[in-house]
């Protein structure tokens, strides 16, 4: 079915001459134990019909709260004032019953976490049909609503929709659930769609699918869209206008191109400068924004960004600057008293940020000057295999299948280098990592650390090897024991390995300084630190035993962008100072491009492409790598609009039942375009890794360079 077969109202609504949504001086506050939290403080914006407004900000900036206020979905304890006009009608002060007639019919919303956004006990079809029936009771029969929900599911790109409507949410993958939520959101042809971080919880390839779907949804419904995100890349190509929020207020707004090219507020500058760029091959300096966003309970007078701002002057502390039009431009406004000075700077965008914030590129480690082949191998994987049995039966267990989580992978990490391991969730990254950390004899193949094979060591030797290898985990909140002081957290590995007490007491403060924290905070508990600081503590703990290799499992993915840059800079600095080797597991390819020397791309338990970062990113050979790279949005509106995206169809196949031959062929666009005799080769013969260029291997029968950045 094509989109044209589904009937929607004509996009142009007679009442919709003015803005669809007009928010004036919106204030939202919540009661809390430490006083009233002023989550939104005087926010004004508007959305025209068919326009896409991007709202960008870090967690706690009030971007989600302000949209929930539009929907009337804030908890009853929230105090809302100001004005929210939807198609000229005031929404604030209306009863839940009145608002429920608009919600889902005129304004609809797509939420962040698709895994929990659907009621687990009803089928997907019933939930979509409910969205129609609740507004058109009597006018639409149950059977018609059910038929329509099949059409909608088909429209959002779920294959075999007629069957899949009967599925329950748990039978859908994350990406499919988000599609179902979008299907609900467009079911009644709304005039405004609010998407709150719609792709944050999804893999990049699925993110690309969902963004494209949102664009389609906008085309068929002609609705205005508000897209809320913390990722400046996501909105670059999609939004028409952008609003940057900080501490409950808009600090800059204007046309997308203008904000990316000529940001006029230091915070926006910092945000733009803190993002690692996928499309930059030369070493880029990342801008860390020091400090934390302010607490919204008791804001001091003056600009809320002043404590973190590199351009701060005394006048900044006297009064909060209003959002003022930037000289010589229409619709571009910024809340900073030094806007004109920023405008006078020579550099533009991210470069201006580097200049103003004073970011530096970390030095190369000494050891990196020796050619790679002559350096020692710190970690070597040779054809590593890990399988899990699939059992059935409660009393009499029998094996009915095997999950091939890691199906024979090989790579090595040499002294002073960083290898990035990337891939979608479920590709086997974490299993690989756990096998390395386990240091047991693998099911197949070999793991060697500094030349010692894990299959040949006894328990004592294994314990000794652990000194040379440490790990930093993804979630800084969960990876530190909340009941141990920071001192004890960092000292623990040294105690286990029998360091003398004096030695420990000397070393712990040293480690604190090394990761950029003050040693006088050692007696505090993890709960008193922010996410970024806790991740630094985690790094200090990992460095306690002076390892040669640090395994980093998504170390920055749980952090806000401005904090993330600081941690990345720290990791680079430590690598150069201590000559460390990193195995960096991540799904964010921009971060990998920035920090890694080499990159290995995993798909369904296999490494399908490996090589130096510049070679792999600039001239990817494997279709999967090409799709992965093309799916990542670049924070540059001009480039982003020109890019052609390779959209992969469907989800990752089950590793219990991988496709024959080439594992990627079921989703491969190249395979689909081949003549049948060549396709047979993909189906029957598994492609092996072959050298494509200097230090660049790919596993594809028909490997060819395709530039996607």
């Amino acid at each position: 079915m094509t989109t044209s077969e589904i009937q929607f109202d004509a996009p142009a609504d007679p009442v919709a001459d003015g803005p669809v949504l007009q928010v004036e001086d919106l204030q939202v506050s919540f009661p809390s134990e430490s006083g009233r939290v002023h989550a939104v403080r005087g926010l004004s914006y508007q959305v025209s019909p068919g326009e896409v407004l991007g709202i960008v900000g870090e967690s706690g900036s009030g971007k989600s709260v302000s949209s929930l206020a539009v929907m009337g979905l804030l908890p009853s304890s929230a105090r809302v004032s100001g004005s929210i006009k939807f198609q000229g009608r005031e929404l604030i002060g209306r009863s839940d019953t009145e608002l429920s007639k608009i919600r889902g019919r005129r304004v609809s919303m797509v939420f962040q976490d698709p895994l929990s956004a659907l009621t687990p006990v009803y089928t997907v079809g019933d939930q979509i049909a409910e969205a129609i029936l609740v507004h058109k009771k009597g006018a639409v029969s149950k059977a018609a609503a059910a038929k329509r929900s099949v059409e909608l599911l088909d429209l959002v790109g779920i294959p075999n929709a007629a069957e899949r409507v009967k599925a329950f949410p748990h039978e859908f993958s994350g990406g499919m659930r988000q599609r179902a939520v979008i299907a609900m959101a467009i079911a009644n042809d709304p005039d405004l769609i609010i998407a709150d971080e719609p792709t944050t919880a999804l893999d990049v390839t699925v993110q690309a699918q969902v963004l494209q779907l949102l664009e389609t949804a906008q085309e068929v419904t002609g609705a205005g869209i508000v897209i809320i995100t913390h990722d400046l890349g996501v909105v670059a190509g999609f939004a028409d206008r952008l609003m940057v929020m900080y501490a409950g207020r808009a600090v800059e707004k204007g046309k997308v191109d203008e904000i990316y090219q000529q940001p006029r507020m230091p915070y926006t500058l910092g945000l733009l400068g803190s993002i690692p760029r996928l499309d930059f091959s030369e070493k880029q300096a990342l801008v860390p924004i020091k400090g934390q966003p302010p607490s919204l309970t008791d804001l001091p007078p003056g600009c809320p960004f002043a404590p973190r701002c590199p351009m701060v002057v005394d006048a900044c502390h006297t009064a909060e600057p209003p959002l003022m039009d930037v000289d010589g431009s229409i619709e571009h406004a910024a809340a900073c008293i030094r806007t004109n000075e920023i405008a006078a700077a020579d550099a533009e965008g991210a470069e201006a940020a580097v200049e103003i914030f004073g970011a530096e590129v970390a030095d190369e480690p000494e050891v990196a000057k020796i050619p790679r082949e002559q350096r020692d191998i710190v970690l070597g994987l040779d054809n590593l295999v890990k399988e899990y049995p699939v059992n059935k039966g409660v009393v009499f267990k029998r094996r009915v299948g095997t999950v091939h989580a890691v199906a024979g992978i090989s790579f090595d990490v040499r002294e002073g280098e960083t290898l990035g391991l990337v891939g979608e969730s479920g590709c086997g990254k974490t299993t690989t990592l756990m096998e390395i950390l386990n240091l047991q004899k693998p099911m197949g193949g070999e793991i060697s650390v500094l030349g010692t094979k894990s299959s040949e060591v006894d328990a004592k030797r294994r314990f000794a090897i652990r000194r040379d290898m440490s790990v930093v985990f993804q979630d800084p909140m969960a990876s530190l024991d909340p009941r141990l002081t920071i001192h004890d957290c960092i000292a623990e590995p040294m105690q286990v390995h029998g360091y003398a007490k004096d030695e420990i007491n000397r070393r712990v403060p040293e480690l604190m300084r090394l990761v950029g924290l003050r040693p006088d905070q050692l007696s505090r508990y993890p709960g008193e630190f922010s996410g970024g600081q806790r991740q630094r503590i985690g790094i200090a703990r990992a460095l306690a035993l002076e390892p040669k290799l640090v395994v980093l499992d998504e170390p920055v993915s749980a952090l806000d962008v401005s904090i993330q840059a600081g941690v990345i800079n720290l990791l680079e600095e430590l690598k150069s100072k201590l000559g460390l080797a990193y195995l960096f597991v991540a799904h964010d390819l921009s971060v990998v491009r920035h920090i890694a020397d080499r990159v290995a791309v995993m798909y369904l338990g296999k490494i399908i492409e490996i090589g130096g970062v510049d070679s792999v990113f600039d001239a990817p050979r494997h279709p999967y790598t090409q799709a992965l790279l093309s799916a990542i949005p670049i924070p540059d509106p001009v480039k982003e609009r020109q890019r052609e995206r390779i959209i992969l169809t469907g989800d990752l196949p089950s590793p219990a039942n991988p496709p024959s031959g080439c594992r990627f062929r079921t989703r491969c666009f190249l395979h689909a375009s081949l003549p049948p005799e060549k396709q047979r080769q993909c189906i029957e013969v598994e492609p092996l890794r072959e050298a494509q260029a200097a230090d660049h291997e790919a596993a594809c029968h028909f490997a060819q360079v395709r530039q996607v950045l």
Binding site: L73, T97, S108, F111, A117, T119, P120, H135, A185
Partner: protein, 325 residues
């Protein structure tokens, strides 16, 4: 799914047998019905004592006695009491009494318990929530030994105020009551009100606490927000999407609550003079009767295991995530 439930059922039959065997063995080893007989004054003749021993199979070893009794049970004969009356006849009557007493009480308990829990959760930290909490804690800390007499006193007060015996709290029916079926029913309802209340109140207090916390878990969930974003009013979203999901963890509680209460209500039966299963267990132990004890135990085992099975079925019905192929 049907296969799974069938396998469970077979497991339960074995478990019920084991439980009954243990109860029978324990009772047979400790009870001494002949000793009781011998202490009568005047003592019965030796010949009749010997005959009694034979009747009760006391000459056989205990496992063999169990097999003898069990082979009767399989054919629907639960043996005879020490006083030589057939157990089977009384069993049916007593099960009927217990079910009449508890089915209604539990049904009300579940319905109002869930309702009270939901209201408390939705209106958390409001007056009604505090009131419900207080009400529950008072009832939960009050044994039926106290609640029963209190209810009786209250009922007496109401009866005195009206000037007629509306609420009757002794027995199941008025002995020798004559009338058509409608009047008979009215008489039974008059007898039922107080004991039902005694059971239901405790149950309401118990279930409302669990329902409140399971509802609170659901209140902050994303899918409730999605439902409202679709255009459901908060109230409708709460009941259609919230309550349905919050009921899932309650299923086990409901099922086992039912199973245990049917025999755990010994005090309630005693206080309101109903001759049900709980009362019978006390009678059985008092008269040193292994057959009665084993019969009641078998009934308890069947109730508990049936509840477990019912919990599985309820779970599968409520939660699609655990339905197995």
């Amino acid at each position: 799914m049907a296969g799974f439930l069938l396998r469970r059922l077979v497991n339960y039959v074995v478990l019920a047998l084991v439980a009954t065997f243990l109860a029978f063995t324990l009772a047979s080893a400790t009870f001494d019905p002949i000793g009781v007989l011998q202490q009568r004054n005047p003592p019965p003749p030796a010949a009749s004592i010997e005959a009694k021993k034979r009747d009760l199979h006391l000459d056989q070893p205990i496992p063999q006695r169990f097999v003898t009794w069990m082979s009767g049970v399989v054919q629907g004969d639960f043996g005879r009491t020490v006083a030589d009356r057939p157990i089977t006849d009384e069993l049916g009557r007593r099960i009927g009494v217990s079910l009449r007493l508890f089915l209604l009480g539990i049904t009300f308990g579940i319905l109002f318990g869930v309702l009270l829990g939901v209201v408390s959760a939705i209106r958390q930290y409001k007056f009604s929530d505090y009131f419900a909490t207080l009400f529950s804690f008072i009832l939960l800390s009050m044994p039926v030994l106290v609640l029963g007499p209190l209810l009786k006193m209250g009922a007496q007060g109401i009866n005195d105020a009206i000037g007629s015996n509306v609420l009757i709290f002794v027995g199941e029916t008025t002995p020798g009551f004559q009338g058509n079926w409608f009047e008979q029913l009215g008489d039974r309802i008059q007898h039922l009100i107080l004991p039902t209340l005694a059971i239901a109140l405790g149950q309401i207090a118990f279930y409302s606490r669990y329902q409140r916390s399971s509802m609170l878990d659901v209140l902050g969930s994303d899918f409730l927000r999605t439902a409202q974003a679709k255009g459901l009013t908060r109230r409708k979203a709460l009941f259609k999407h919230g309550l349905r999901t919050a009921l899932i963890p309650m299923a086990t509680l409901f099922a086992f609550g039912f199973g245990l209460l049917v025999v755990g209500g010994t005090f309630t039966e005693k206080i309101f003079t109903w001759y049900g299963m709980g009362d019978w267990l006390v009678v059985g132990i008092g008269s040193q009767d292994a057959n009665i004890t084993a019969t009641v135990t078998l009934f308890v085992a069947v109730c508990v295991l049936f509840s477990g099975w019912l919990a599985d079925v309820l779970y599968a019905a409520l939660d699609p995530r655990i339905r197995v192929n």
